[in-house]
Amino acid sequence: MDKPVNNRAWFLVMPVLALVAFSALLPLMTVVNYSLQDTFGGNQFFWAGLEWFEDVVHSDRIRAALGRQVLFSASILAIEIPLGIFIALNMPKKGVWASFCLVVMALPLLIPWNVVGTIWQVFGRVDIGLLGYTLTKLGISYNYVNDPIAAWITIIVMDVWHWTSLVALLCYAGLQSIPDAYYQAAKIDQASRWKVFRYIELPKMQGVLLIAVLLRFMDSFMIYTEPFVLTGGGPGNATTFLSIDLVKMAVGQFDLGPAAAFSLIYFLVILVISFVFYTLMTKEGEAL
């Protein structure tokens, strides 16, 4: 079919372009502007070139934060994706219990992030928190305020509690779209439970899994509110992730130049890793 070519159609996308320009492009360019200059206030700027970028790349502090960030995202993906699939597979397919499960599963997703942080902050306290108090009474040494391992475990469990539902609900939707005939055919073909999962359910979930992995990766890589409320980045720097470090640098120390360079690199890292995930998973999907 021939499609008519009319360049005036570009005018129709102008409003969107204008909106995106004001909401994303212009602020981003301001950041670029800061990242290349130095200022001592008073709206006076000096050209700094790539100095800030070099500083950020060579900074031990930021490298350490990046390491923690990668470890965190990898941990929660390794837990939430399989757990989400497992929950979705075991949720009832229809009936009252299906609705009940859906509501219960959706609940954590509806809680504001800083409230989630506060809930776990209180929950884990050794003096009044149900979890912290119980563990301590049981003789288990647990104190997220001064023990880095306890702090990490708490943050990971909190994130799993908060976000596994998202993965489970996406997978559940994927599973619901599989016609009954597939399961019947698998029975006729005498396929084992594992083979049903491997050859019917997993391929049909592939699309939603890609979305789930991307969303969970991006969100976890940018995580700020919950660890900030729970541990404030401590003990020491044990749970200082990239965004917490960035805020410290930009707002705490008012190092606008390095913070701007940091932001841009941060943004590029997320973009590149997301792209890699996307490419790998679509390729993998074809090979699956």
Binding site: Y182, Q184, A185, Q190, A191, S192, Y199, P203
Partner: protein, 363 residues
């Protein structure tokens, strides 16, 4: 391979069936002979698929038993029944190649690899996919996928029966004919019991030795295509088999005479007293047109020439009647009568055929 027996089988999808219409399958007894080619024919929603799923074990019947040979399999899961089934819409394992799809049921049964390979090659040849065995199943056309489904159904040699649930719905017409011929051929070569569900009478009559007609949750007649044509046990069979279907006229029966709309029609046999709604049924092939006073008054509405014969559509006393006139016979322009052939008139009460011989024995 084995004989399949249904004993007082009934099924309802409701937990507590009380009324007659709650039952998707009404109690039935039936024997599927080992090695038979059966067609299960009926309109949509008459319980064909339910019956099929009960035989394959995807459904557990509410009542009755299923026997494979002498062993009761009613409670056995599909896995242990060793049955192949092909569904209406294609089911393929997207991520596997055509070859892996065909090999899947054999692999699951743990057959040696060389046997799997030779069997897959054979089936691939049969469904015409030998060239594309290494293609990924995803992205094939719907009828190619359905051919894979058919292939997976036929790949196992040791199955007790192969069930087809309207398998050619998504297939091109010319391909349909070809695949049906291949199924028939397969049946001849390997002698599997085959049950073929369809609502298409041509499909049923060309495929099967025995046609089982279902209507409203029950088997109304099972027999050879010829028997179904000659003596439909139920008005639904008369209507469903044949094109056009059997003509039905309300009638009063008195011995060997029927009174239709004030006209006397003689019957080949005598009948005893009948109760209920009585009708006579005559196939359009056994009526001829007339111009005199003989036969039933007939008003011609329309004549359709379908090639080797003509179908004259008209009315007798307000009831629609079709008459088939062979191409060789002249069509009287002033036809105002239809004359039924007494030897082919059947009498029905409340939709069931009355057999005068049996009536006599009962009396």
């Amino acid at each position: 391979m084995t004989q399949i027996t249904l004993e007082n089988l009934a099924h309802s999808y409701l937990p507590n069936p009380s009324k007659d219409e709650d039952w998707a399958l009404k109690p039935m007894n039936m024997v599927w002979e080992d090695g038979g080619a059966y067609a299960l024919l009926g309109s949509s929603g008459c319980g064909k698929s339910t019956l099929l799923n009960i035989i394959s074990g995807l459904l557990v019947p509410s009542k009755g038993r299923i026997l494979f040979g002498d062993s009761d399999v009613t409670a056995l899961p599909t896995l242990e029944r060793n049955i192949a089934q092909v569904f209406q819409f294609p089911v393929v394992y997207d991520t596997m190649s055509v070859r892996e799809n065909l090999a899947f049921p054999l692999k699951n049964r743990g057959l040696p690899l060389d046997q799997i390979a030779s069997r897959v090659a054979e089936v691939a040849e049969m469904i015409g996919m030998a060239e594309i065995l290494d293609r990924r199943a995803r992205g094939l056309t719907a009828d190619a996928k359905q051919k894979i489904s058919l292939g997976r159904g036929m790949v196992r040699q040791d199955v007790n029966a192969i069930l087809f649930d309207e398998p050619l719905t998504v297939i091109d017409p010319h391909m349909k004919w070809e695949l049906r011929t291949q199924l028939k051929d397969l049946h001849r070569r390997f002698g599997h019991t085959m049950i073929y569900v369809t609502h298409d009478q041509t499909e049923a009559l060309t495929f099967a030795d025995q046609v089982v007609v279902m209507y409203d949750g029950q088997v109304v007649q099972a027999g050879t295509p010829q028997a179904l044509f000659d003596a439909p046990e139920h008005t639904f069979v008369g209507y469903f088999i044949g094109s056009p279907g059997m003509n039905l006229l309300d009638a009063k029966i008195d011995g060997d005479a029927a009174h239709v709309a004030g006209t006397h029609v003689s019957l080949a046999k005598g009948y005893g007293p009948l109760k209920g709604h009585t009708q006579i049924g005559i196939r359009p092939e056994f009526m001829r047109l007339g111009t005199g006073d003989e036969g039933l008054p007939f008003k011609v509405n329309r004549i359709e020439d379908v090639g080797h014969h003509r179908i004259v559509r008209g009315q007798v006393d307000g009831a629609n009647i079709n008459v088939v006139v062979p191409e060789s016979q002249p069509l009287p322009a002033d036809a105002n009568r239809v004359i039924p052939d007494p030897a082919h008139i059947h009498v029905y009460t409340d939709d069931w055929r009355v057999d005068p011989a049996r009536q006599e024995r009962a009396a």
